[in-house]
C-alpha cells in the first residue's frame, strides 16, 4: 500500500496546492515542498529498512509489491513493485522535486497554484513510471506525465530567439514523445496478443510477458518499438530534436525535472523492459545501439561547444552523457550497467545544479545568452565557485560522482567492445572543452557590464551545497548505491549470453 501512496501523494499535493492559491501566494509553494519532502522521506525510509541482497531462489526479486485487478477484460492490473533501482530513482525524484519547488520560489510569480499542480503531477507520473510493473499501467504513466510538462513549458517558459517560441518547443516535445510512445503501445499490444495466442491468457503483466516466445521477425520489430520510445526520451541522436528547445524554453524547474528525472525514465525503461523482454534481439541490436550511443556522445559534445545559449549548452551535454548510459546498458557487463546507474544519478545532480545555476544567473542578468556574460566571477559572489564545481563534475573530474560512473562504464565495456570505449573516451576530452568554454565565457574573461550583483540567499546556498555534497559523497563512496542496485543489474547483464563471461573478466581486472 505504501507504493500506492508514493504515487498518490504528489497528485493529492498538486490538487491541494492548486486550491491553496486562494489563501496566499506562498501556500502552494509550502504545500508542494512538503509533498516532495514527504515522498523523499518515505523513499529514504524504505532504503534504510530494505534488504537489497541478491534474491535467493524462490524469493521475489521485489522488495515491495502491490497488485489489484483493474480492467479484467484485458487482464490489466494495477501492479506496482519496488526494487533497488526503482527505489533509488524514486528517491531521486523526491529530491529533485524538492529542488524544483525551491528553485522556482522566486522565478514563478504568476499562477503559482497551477504551476505547482503541473509540477507535482509530473513528479507523480514519474514515480508511477518507476513503480509500474503492468505494461499498460507503465504506458499510462509514461504518457500521462507529458501533459503537465507541456503546460509547464508552454505557459511558464521563456521565449528564445524569434520563431522559437516556448509553445512551439512544448508542442514539439509532446509530439515526439507521444508519437514514439504510441509505437511502444503498439509493441506492447502485439506482445500481449502473441502471448495470448501462445497461452490463451490475456495479460499485461511483466512476469507473464517476459517469457513470451515471439516469432523471430516480429520480435525484432517489437524490440524496436520499445527502443524507439525510450530512445526519444533518452535522447539518442536521430531522435533528439525536441531536447535542446524544450530545455532552453522551459522554466528552471522544468529543466531540472526534464534533465534530472525525465531522461532517466528512458534509461529505466530500457533496463526494466526493453532488455528483459527481448534479450536475444537486444543483444543482436547492441552494436547498433552502441554506435548510436557513440554518435550521441560526440555529436552532443561538439554541438555543445558551439552554443551561445547557456541552457542549450547544458542540454547538449545531456545528450553526450546519455550516450555513455546507452553504451553501458547494451554492453552486457554488470560493471558497466552499475556504472550507468551511478552516472544517471550523478548526471541528475550535476545537470540539475547547472540548470539551477543558470536559472539564478537569469534572475540576476535576465539573459541566457553567453555573449552578454563574461567576467561574472568578480561581479557575483559565491555562485561562480559553485558553477566551477558542477562544471568539473560534468566533465568527469575524479572525486565527483560522474567520474565514478563514466569510469565504471568504460571499464566494464572495454572487454566486450574495446573500439567503442576508445572512441567514447574522446568524448571525455570534448567534455573538458565544452565545460571549460562554459566557464570561460560566463565567469572569466572581460566584463561585459560592470557593477556587483546580488549573491545567493540562504535558499540558493542550501540547494547548491546539498547538491554538491551529494555529488562528492557519491564520488567518494558509491558503495551504498552499488549495493542497492547489484541485485538489479546482475540479472540484466546475464541476459546477454556472452555477458556472464564478460562480467567475470571485468571482475578479474578489477
Amino acid at each position: 500500500m505504501i507504493l500506492v501512496w508514493l504515487i498518490l501523494i504528489p497528485f493529492l499535493g498538486g490538487l491541494l496546492s492548486w486550491q491553496a492559491e486562494r489563501w496566499s501566494e506562498h501556500a502552494p509553494r509550502w504545500i508542494a515542498l512538503g509533498t516532495m519532502l514527504f515522498v523523499l522521506v518515505i523513499s529514504i525510509f524504505l532504503w534504510l529498512t530494505g534488504d537489497f541482497s541478491l534474491p535467493v531462489d524462490g524469493n521475489s526479486q521485489w522488495l515491495l509489491e502491490w497488485r489489484a485487478p483493474w480492467i479484467p477484460r484485458f487482464g490489466i492490473e494495477i501492479h506496482l513493485a519496488l526494487d533497488g533501482l526503482s527505489l533509488i530513482l524514486v528517491a531521486l525524484t523526491g529530491f529533485l522535486g524538492t529542488l524544483a519547488v525551491l528553485c522556482s520560489w522566486r522565478e514563478i510569480v504568476q499562477r503559482v497554484g497551477f504551476f505547482h499542480l503541473n509540477l507535482l503531477f509530473i513528479l507523480g507520473g514519474v514515480v508511477g513510471v518507476f513503480l509500474a510493473l503492468d505494461l499498460f499501467l507503465f504506458f499510462l504513466f509514461w504518457e500521462m506525465m507529458l501533459v503537465p510538462m507541456y503546460f509547464l513549458i508552454a505557459l511558464w517558459g521563456h521565449s528564445g530567439s524569434p520563431g522559437q517560441t516556448r509553445i512551439r518547443a512544448a508542442t514539439r516535445f509532446f509530439i515526439y514523445t507521444q508519437a514514439s510512445g504510441l509505437l511502444m503501445l503498439v509493441a506492447i499490444l502485439a506482445l500481449v496478443f502473441v502471448h495470448f495466442s501462445n497461452t490463451g491468457e490475456l495479460s499485461f503483466s511483466y512476469d507473464a510477458l517476459r517469457g513470451t516466445d515471439v516469432p523471430e521477425p516480429l520480435a525484432f520489430w517489437l524490440m524496436l518499438g520499445f527502443f524507439v520510445a525510450f530512445a526519444v526520451k533518452l535522447p539518442v541522436v536521430p531522435f533528439h530534436g525536441w531536447l535542446p528547445d524544450a530545455h532552453a524554453q522551459a522554466p528552471t524547474a522544468g529543466s531540472v525535472d526534464l534533465a534530472g528525472i525525465l531522461l532517466k525514465t528512458a534509461a529505466y525503461g530500457i533496463i526494466r523492459f526493453a532488455l528483459p523482454l527481448f534479450p536475444e534481439q537486444s543483444e543482436a541490436f547492441a552494436p547498433v545501439a552502441m554506435t548510436l550511443g557513440l554518435v550521441g556522445i560526440i555529436y552532443g559534445a561538439v554541438l555543445a561547444c558551439g552554443q551561445q545559449d547557456i541552457k542549450r549548452l547544458i542540454a547538449y551535454t545531456s545528450i553526450s552523457h546519455m550516450g555513455f548510459v546507452l553504451i553501458a546498458l547494451y554492453s552486457g557487463s554488470e560493471l558497466a550497467i552499475q556504472g550507468a546507474i551511478i552516472l544517471m544519478v550523478a548526471h541528475a545532480f550535476s545537470s540539475a545544479g547547472l540548470f539551477i545555476l543558470s536559472g539564478q544567473l537569469y534572475e540576476r542578468i535576465h539573459s541566457r545568452d553567453m555573449r552578454v556574460m563574461g567576467g561574472l566571477w568578480s561581479r557575483i559572489p559565491v555562485l561562480p565557485g559553485f558553477t566551477l564545481c558542477f562544471v568539473a563534475a560534468s566533465l568527469g573530474m575524479p572525486i565527483t560522482a560522474n567520474f565514478v560512473g563514466e569510469f565504471m562504464i568504460l571499464f566494464g565495456t572495454f572487454p566486450g567492445a574495446p573500439v567503442v570505449v576508445v572512441i567514447a573516451s574522446v568524448g571525455l576530452v570534448l567534455a573538458a572543452i565544452y565545460s571549460l568554454l562554459l566557464m570561460q565565457r560566463v565567469h572569466y574573461g572581460p566584463e561585459y557590464r560592470t557593477g556587483p550583483l546580488k549573491g545567493p540567499d540562504a535558499r540558493e546556498y542550501g540547494m547548491m551545497l546539498t547538491l554538491l555534497a551529494l555529488t562528492i559523497a557519491v564520488g567518494l563512496y558509491p558503495q551504498p548505491l552499488l549495493d542497492t542496485t547489484a541485485a538489479v543489474s546482475a540479472p540484466i547483464a546475464e541476459l546477454f549470453t556472452g555477458g556472464a563471461d564478460l562480467a567475470a573478466r571485468a571482475g578479474e581486472v578489477n
Binding site: 504506458f139 503546460f151 508542442t171 507521444q178 508519437a179 499490444l189
Partner: protein, 478 residues
Amino acid sequence: MLTLESLIAILPLIIVATTAVVVMLGIAWQRHHAVTALVTAGGLVLALLSVPVASGALSSPPLMTMDGLAIMGSVLVLLCALVTVALSHHYLTGYIGPREEFYLLLLCAVTGALGLVASDHLATLFISLELLSMPLYGMLAYSFRAERSLEAGIKYLVLSAAATAFLLFGMALIYARTGRMDLAGLAAGLAATPDPWTLAGAVLMVVGLGFKLSIVPFHLWTPDVYQGGPAPATIFLATVSKLAVFLVLLRLIMVAPIFDSEWLRSLFTMLALITMLGGNLLALFQPNLKRLLGYSSIAHFGYLLVAIVVGGQLAVETTGVYLITYLVTTLAAFGVVTMVSSPFGGEDAAGLHHYRGLFWRRPWLAAVMTVSFLSLAGIPLTAGFIGKFYVIALGVSDARWWLVGSIVAGSAIGLFYYLRVMVTLYMPEPGMRRRDAVHDWGSRVGGLTLMVVAVLILVIGVYPGPVIDWVVGLSGVS
C-alpha cells in the same frame, strides 16, 4: 405478426414518438419554452427507463430487431439526446423566433435514430434514416436569420439528398439480384459468389452511409455544416446521427456476406487510411473551433473504420467502447462551445480567439474543455485513451499494420491542433471584451450536465471496467 409482445420491444421508440406528438399539440395550444423542454426531457427519460423492459421482450416486430446492438444504440441515442436538450434550453433562451419547435424536430430525429439502430430490413433502414435526416435540416437551419446557419441547412439538405439517392440505388441493385430486402434474406441470397451488380450495390450503399459519417472523400460538407449550424444542432449531428448510422453500417457488415468480401475490405482500409490522415491534416491550422471539431470527428470515424475492416466479435466491442468514448468527449467539447455561445446571440462563438484565457475567467469551463480535448487526443486517464487503446488493440490483433501505423501517425498529427486549442485556454487574457459564458453557467441544468459529462470522461478513463462489461454483455447477443 405485430403482437403486443413486439410492441413492447419497441417501447422506447413509441414513447419518443408520442412525446413528439404531445410536444406538437402543446405548442399548438400554448407556447412555453421551459415546459416544452421539460416535457421533451421527460419523454426521453421515460424512453430510457423503458429500455430494460423492451430488452426483456421475447419477440421483435417485423422489419426490426431488438438485439444487443440495438439496445446499446438506443441507450446511447437517448442519453445523447438528453444532453442535447439540457444544453439547448439555455442556448435557445436568447433566440428571438419561436423556440419550441426545436424540441419537436429533435424528438422526430431521435425517433428516426432509434428506428435506425434497430432496423433489420432495408425498408426500415431507409425510412429511419430519412426520419433522422429530415428534422436535422430544420435544426441546422434553425437560426435561419444567420446566413451561415441557412447555408448549413441547405448544404446538408442538397448533399444528403444526393447521398440518399446513392443509397437507394444501391439497395435497388441488391434487391434486383436477390429479391430480398430483409437482412437475413440478403445474407441467404448473397451466399453465392458475389457478382459485379451486388458488389456495385454494396459500394453505392457504403457511399450513401459514408456521406452521413463524413468519411473522406465524402466529407466536404462537414466543416461548413458544423460551423454554420446552431451549436445544439451540431451536437446532435455529431453524436446521435453519426452513432446511429455507424451502428447500421456495422450491422450490414456483420450480417450480409457481400460486405465481407476481401475487395470491399481493401476499399474500407483505403477509406480508413485517407479518413484518418485527411481529417487530421485538414484540421491542422484551423482557427475556427467548430470547423476544427468537424475535422476531428472525421478523423475519429477514420479510426473507427478499423472496426469495419477487421470485423468479428472484438470489432463490435471496439465499436461500442469507442463510440461511448467518442460521444462523451464530443458532448463535452461541443457543450463548452454551446455554453460560451449561450444564450443565443447571432453567430456562435467559434473563433479560437474567443477562448483565449478562458481558464482565468471560467476555470471550470476551461477544465471541462481541457479534459475533452485531452480525451480527443487520446491521452491516458481520459475516456479517449480507452477508445484509442481498443482500436489499436483491434488492429494489432488482426495484424493490420498499415492501419495501426496510420492511427499512430494520425494521432501524432492530431496532437498538434488539440494542443494548440488547449494552450489557448491558458494564455494570458487580452484586454478586449470577448463573448463569454454567463456567470452562473455552472448552476444551470446545461452546465451541470456538462460537468457530469466531463466527470464521466475521467471516470471512464480511470475505471473503464463497468463500461467494457456493459458493452461486452450487449455485443455478445448479436
